[in-house]
Subunit: 278 residues, 6 copies
């Protein structure tokens, strides 16, 4: 169960409105790696986990914090939209070049649909959807998803930091960037803990290794002409899981034959090969 308090986790006040940046900032609210994604991903993982409380609690702690970040970003976007000049664009075309850029760079849905409010969408106006998230039941896999999300997320926020010079916006972004620093550190710590506990780094660690084709489990196949990739750590030396030796195959050959499919039954009206070839 959840409670809300009216105060924001951190202030969300721009120095002045900027509807172009409002549109851009939508990316980290409702985009593929925005705050709605991490909020929903952590909460779903927390609700679904069949594991012990330590991890469940961590997921709820972090997911609940991300809700506060959603709130901060939505507030910031609404304020960046204050006084957005959607209404008088026609006259402005000829007289105000600065206004032109604003009109061109905004998402008109901020006016038409949302009445100067934030939307659960990204910088191109594409709505958030639940295929952005994963809750697999395997925490080592999911913590890697979380580390990935925090890495892409922090990257995007730092890019946005460089695309504005508004001190109020930058102040809030510097808070979010720091929290992403913590969250990357935290998932790295949790991943390391789980890898040690499970004694392997290959997810899932519980599938018997004897059931996979071991002869290709540590091979880099060179499917792209040129051998630049053979220079990396991944092509020689012991494998990272300590169970094999990386090796490099310069000219990979197929293991299987060319496939030939059976004709379909008549019902499907598929094209049939000529009788002579069947």
């Amino acid at each position: 169960m959840f409670y809300h308090i009216k105060e924001l986790q951190y202030q969300a006040k721009p120095s002045k409105p900027d509807p172009v940046f409002a549109r851009q900032l939508q990316e980290v609210l409702g985009g593929q790696y925005g705050e709605i994604s991490v909020m929903m991903q952590y909460l779903m993982q927390g609700m679904n986990t069949r594991c012990e409380d330590k991890y469940r609690d961590l997921l709820f702690d972090t997911g609940t914090e991300e809700m506060a970040h959603v709130e901060m970003l939505a507030t910031m976007i609404a304020r960046l939209l204050d006084d957005a000049p959607f209404e008088d664009q026609k006259n402005a075309y000829e007289t105000d070049p600065a206004l032109n850029a604003i009109l061109g760079g905004t998402n008109p849905q901020h006016g038409i649909v949302a009445g100067l409010g934030a939307m659960a969408a990204d910088a191109a106006g594409y709505p958030w959807n639940a295929k952005y998230i994963i809750s697999s039941g395997n925490l080592l896999a999911d913590f890697r998803a979380n580390l990935n999300a925090e890495s892409q997320g922090r990257l995007q926020v730092t890019r946005l930091y460089g695309m504005t010079d508004d001190p109020g916006v930058r102040d809030m972004l510097s808070f979010l960037i720091a929290r992403d620093t913590m969250h990357q550190n935290q998932w790295v710590a949790a991943i390391k803990e789980l890898e040690e506990r499970e004694g392997d780094i290959v997810v899932p660690t519980t599938f018997p290794r004897s059931l996979e084709k071991n002869e290709v489990a540590y091979t880099l196949f060179n499917f792209s002409r040129g051998d630049a990739s053979s220079k990396g750590r991944w092509a020689h030396g012991p494998s990272m899981d300590g169970r094999g030796q990386f090796n490099y195959v310069a000219e990979p050959e197929p293991f299987g034959p060319a496939p030939k499919l059976k004709p379909a039954p008549f019902l499907y009206h598929d094209t049939m090969p000529p009788k002579s070839m069947m």
Copy 2:
């Protein structure tokens, strides 16, 4: 530029048709973490990278191999659909319980739309879309996305391995599982190499740490009542990036005030507060 040869990287032949499993197997062909996802993700990253050849080559090697996996899975699915009994279901209702389960568990689009062929969709019939992938230009971030994809992918394939007892299917899956073992190892190696080269683990490593709010960069806020999460490595000791100390705040307080938004201009016909409150 690409070339195709007719032979499969590995054989893709079930011992007998099984249209129910054909539907399930679609998940790792056209699902969120299926082979189309990794193929498209690695190729896009390879095409977009502005970095040196070693990484570009590795991305193309692996992306090109994933295309061969797409081909193997599509071939396997088509064969699992051989002799699918879509056509005579009506009579079967009463007489053949085994057939009932088959009918219920199949995706009828395999018959109606695809004529007993594979689709670029998942086990629920949802089509593949490009929001499953990321190519950010930052390779440390993207390699984490890749490690995540291979972790979720191998997890799903091992689950499917447990959901069939067909020796032919299991044979092919054991090949794919081994390749995912390699790919997890490979991305771990590449991640480690980049972390060392860049001297940090927090993506992006190039954003000046002085610009983030350092006082919250290593704090676990306890937003979920109960202190189970304080027991983890992430709540105490040096941070994983070696630049701070984890700390735990049991009762987090807001840093910001409650927000109050300005009324919108008349154009938007938003609900206005009573005059007395403006």
Copy 3:
């Protein structure tokens, strides 16, 4: 900012697992009118409103409660999936008709993707997306959206109530149904309050009536042959907003001419009419 406590708002425990019902119950978690929709809709409206605290607070109260409903449903679905028989289906085909129905009626992604956890998706496996929600800045419009959502939502939950006889599931559903009763009542009350305050029922109430084509503002045009619709309240008597008289036009005629579009510039390579017709 938000806090979470570990206890559920109401218990979520089925009497026994039922993976078929787990799939069906997904509709009211992650479907068009599921709990994620109302949670996100109320919170976004609350964050965006530029109106007085009374409404903002109501939106946060209710949105925060819906998060607790998301949690209850996710928990219930995970428990309904306990012991789901995905793994041994092959042998079951011939011997266990009850199992057949279970296999046919489940969503295999519950096993393959979510590891027996809930998903942010509906009963057909379609992921939740943000186009399910609206936050327009006009509260009278949005409260009607909310009343609609609670009406469709309660309807779906009562249907699900009739599709199970599990006492534990029904117990939880009876709680959700009661809360939807409250929420319908609450939005009706809020709608009535706003209609009275604004002195009109036509959204937006602030657009000058003199600017619309008043001569067609209260007319029912009979575009579907037969006059059954002329028997309703909407075809005669004073209009509901008290500003006009409903009237019925049995044989509507067009007010405008047939359109004729200009040819496109050459650049677009559109098909051009023959020169003689231009």
Copy 4:
């Protein structure tokens, strides 16, 4: 069965082309609450209703009219795109600021994909999809969906009215606004009629009230700190359905325990708690 006549229900002729406004106008053609939505929603409800002819006829009357609105908007958009300057943008960058705003504010797909025609998409280029509509079989629920759609729709059209000063465009919009006035009135009338006939306002009215948890059916839980929401009509006095008394709970407590999920079977390779904790 349907017939088409060439004339438009109302004229659709701008005073001059305006490709920026063409993009914005797409919102009420192919957006969440555009004319395609109401056309499809009313027609599907009409086709599906198992109720008497009066309502079926009303739905077809209105749905068929909305098709005429789709036609008017598509015609208007095509004309707004006449002479759109996609072709010579490069030279214009430096010399024509007014053109700059036009280029920035247009959707290039109007040129590349549609050859200066309308698209079934919204102002951000997002395609119309059928999750925008509902046809539930319960007319009271669906008429509320219709009232909501007409409220959001009229709101958006009035906003667009304020975003242009083209007399031809405004003339057509004033027709659409008036029709939305009628449609809001009409659904209010139909809702009232059904509420009276069914003797309740809580959808569905047929679910036995004795089966819901009556003790929470009229309670406002204060999940958001602060008591502003207690000041509303929804927190005290008789409920709107006349069957209970609203009441306000200032400090809501959970009714349920903290959930604890069972470990998953081995097949799923979920993370398991340490043996000591199982």
Copy 5:
């Protein structure tokens, strides 16, 4: 402008309910190549065409007829859902194998969401969306899209014909199949007429041939090892447009160099190559 009459273009009455087939039949109502697709495609093309009346009229004739097909299919689906046994499934598991198949093969949303009505979705429950259609302004291109749609559509309907033995359903399908026969014939005729009028078969016919790289305009590159494709008409002889000679290149070589991208500016925090390599 449109009118509706109550009668169906053709009767839509199954001999008995069949909710499994109801789900399958959704494919040709709301799927990629269902009746909603052709209705919307033809109407949008008709509204957008800047060409002469002959084609505009043909598009409206056919688009308006497709609306009648939508109506027939929706009616048929609702009737196939009559008496669907969603409500008592639990007891049925053990006792009624025929019922099992029904339960497994249905879409539960037909009950939960649509109350036994049709949905604007396909056989997997995926909603119709406007990316299924095209209206490009070039009629030769669009008529090819139409011929494709009628080809895929008729193929799917004939498959469904083979998947049922209900005489009432087959009767209606045989009507739809015949109409698709007409529509394929009609678009072939219209395509031929336009090709002759424009004097070319390569869309768009108006792009100056001198501006394309003529040396590769009639070449089949053998990118897939093996020369089976060289046996076709497309590899030798005069090209179909009569302007060139097909030729076959057995071992295609790249015309371009390997690409090397410039490093990105610092703002983007992309991974940079080591200084020594820049």
Copy 6:
């Protein structure tokens, strides 16, 4: 199985960066009829075909070539994004009108998400999805889909050719346009070959003509008032398949009765007609 070489099929180098055109060019990379669509469509058709090698090989030849086109376009887009001015927009508003147009016309996700790389999305930022493609098992149907795709594709590329004057971009586009010329020719040839082999032009050719309602198989119904469409080849003379005579019905009448649906069972809580009417 596939191999990659580093060289591009054709050079992809603009004369100078142009981030506005980069956004527009996305349409033919990741749009409905972009190169990803044809690549995936041909490869899926090739993998699924149960027909003889000649066609399978042709599909793989062409699909594999389209991958090279994806690579060329992604490379071109990345180079057009070099030096994109996302970072300093704020100051530019007032001083640089040319920059204004650039800012307004770009997709900010090229900076925020992709770090100046190409995306698998279209010109509006909408992600590629697999509903753009079809692989039906019937090659005559699918080759028509392919001809349609190449027609729409070439049309879009020629429009883009007219929207830029960069010699480097035009050089690459002229290569792609020529390849589309070949591909249109090739599919026309393959269609003709299959039509002759199967002895009919109506897909599927194998459905017995005696089972369709022959009396409506060659009729143009005039559902749109006015007889312009009766002037076309499609309304008189022998049908294109040589099996009937086109005919024109000026005033089509319904063949079926008005539908009346049965009330739904109580479970669904659908609105019921008054008892007197049931």
